[in-house]
Symmetry: C2
Subunit: 298 residues, 2 copies
Amino acid sequence: MSLVIVGSVALDSVKTPFGSVKNALGGSAVYASMASKNFCQTHIVGVVGNDFPKEHINLLESNKISTTGLEFANGNTFKWKGVYNDLNKAETLDTQLNVFADFNPKIPENYQKCKYLFLGNIHPKLQLEVLQQMKSCQISACDTMNYWISSKRDKLLKVIEKVDILFINENEIKMLTDEQNIFIAAQKTQEMGAKLIIVKRGEYGAVAIMNDFIFFTPIFPVKKVIDPTGAGDSFAGGFMGYLSQQNKFDETTIKNAMIYGTITASFNVEDFSLNKLQKIDFEMIEKRKEAVKKSVVF
Amino acid sequence: MSLVIVGSVALDSVKTPFGSVKNALGGSAVYASMASKNFCQTHIVGVVGNDFPKEHINLLESNKISTTGLEFANGNTFKWKGVYNDLNKAETLDTQLNVFADFNPKIPENYQKCKYLFLGNIHPKLQLEVLQQMKSCQISACDTMNYWISSKRDKLLKVIEKVDILFINENEIKMLTDEQNIFIAAQKTQEMGAKLIIVKRGEYGAVAIMNDFIFFTPIFPVKKVIDPTGAGDSFAGGFMGYLSQQNKFDETTIKNAMIYGTITASFNVEDFSLNKLQKIDFEMIEKRKEAVKKSVVF
């Protein structure tokens, strides 16, 4: 099965204790697509400006990501500038929405029949519009952020009502539900509609919760985190890519999707931008899977 | 094999969002002993005052904990008063060391031949003195805290040099090693002497690290945390109790010890003081073990 990924496409300028990049390829849709492409046919939907380098398109296409859904608009590409003094927390120095401000995702006809959908962190109004354009979606997932929870709560609740899977940070789910215990918070979120809640906990890994089913995954302990940008998106992309490939939604499949998400994210943080994700193959992924197994199975 | 546990014996006054207790039985040695007694013959070493209720001694003895090592001193028992507004963080309102201020642990002769030792969080000078009194200790473990790391670092380093296992909080190991990455921090701590480092991460569970061996355990998600007091000590007690029972120090044994520690701690937080730990049996523990297995094995 193939997967449609909608989200931001960005040019990121990032500084971490280990170096910096300027106007490097980034954005939620890009990170998620470069993660999912290891598992399934991936279709990206996003908007870029006139300044978007052709080499970035080439990179996506050479990784077998379909770019028919990339819209070219007049103006500059979305730009984000951030610094990580602490590797667990990004500090935004500058955000220029540019063409992303008027992003109005149009799903190409051949994408509309895809059975899997991942909505990156964009305005919930746009997430709803994408959901309406999909003709025979089987499993839809979305990500969100604190800004939409506080300022566009009504629209976001409509999205949560419709999607099957919600990816959300630990602090965000507490904020969404006004509940400190994440297991109770997840239960409350399920009552809003989404079937499976995936709580992302940064360096502590992630938890999947669906009724009585709970599955914890730790992080894969990489020797050196170079740049955490896109960790959450590459986790979601790896998860959704594996899920689309399996075309099942049982507990075993969800557990494995969590592990593949974690491993894909662990590669992503080992270099800036998409530098590492473009170099990994299935053998490398499977090797880390064995290591993760050893670190949790008793 | 049997286990000697040295630490504080306290009368705790605790308030949480779910109620409060006054002068209830507590202290690191008590929590650890009531956790380990499920697995092995446990010997407690500590000091209490004239005000220490006989019923607490009865409780320990009826749980087959040997109390020969409990010293009765003139004065009042160590008292701690704390409040949890956030269940993840205790706020100390009052500490009265009382007889604990002059605690000078004397290990009874029949304890000195025990092969397993757990040193609760006490002055590293006392921890060293206990280590010297043990005649044929096979595996020793210690806990510590930020106060000793900053104010008695030299003595603490001597303890870490001698023990086999160090139980330490995530923030404390960062402080001890001046390193933010806990895997590198654990490596640095191993270089100080301890073979196995167990990093406690509160609601995120714990990690065991020994050279290339890494094992993560999540928490067991209890429905309602009533009182987190003693969670770390009951974790360490459950861990050490299982280890003493097995009399092995291989990876499989360490993994299982981590799981039994986690489960014992999960029961402990479900009620105030030792109210829950005195009610659990091996069948209840095994049932949670199956649930933990389902939540991590893939």
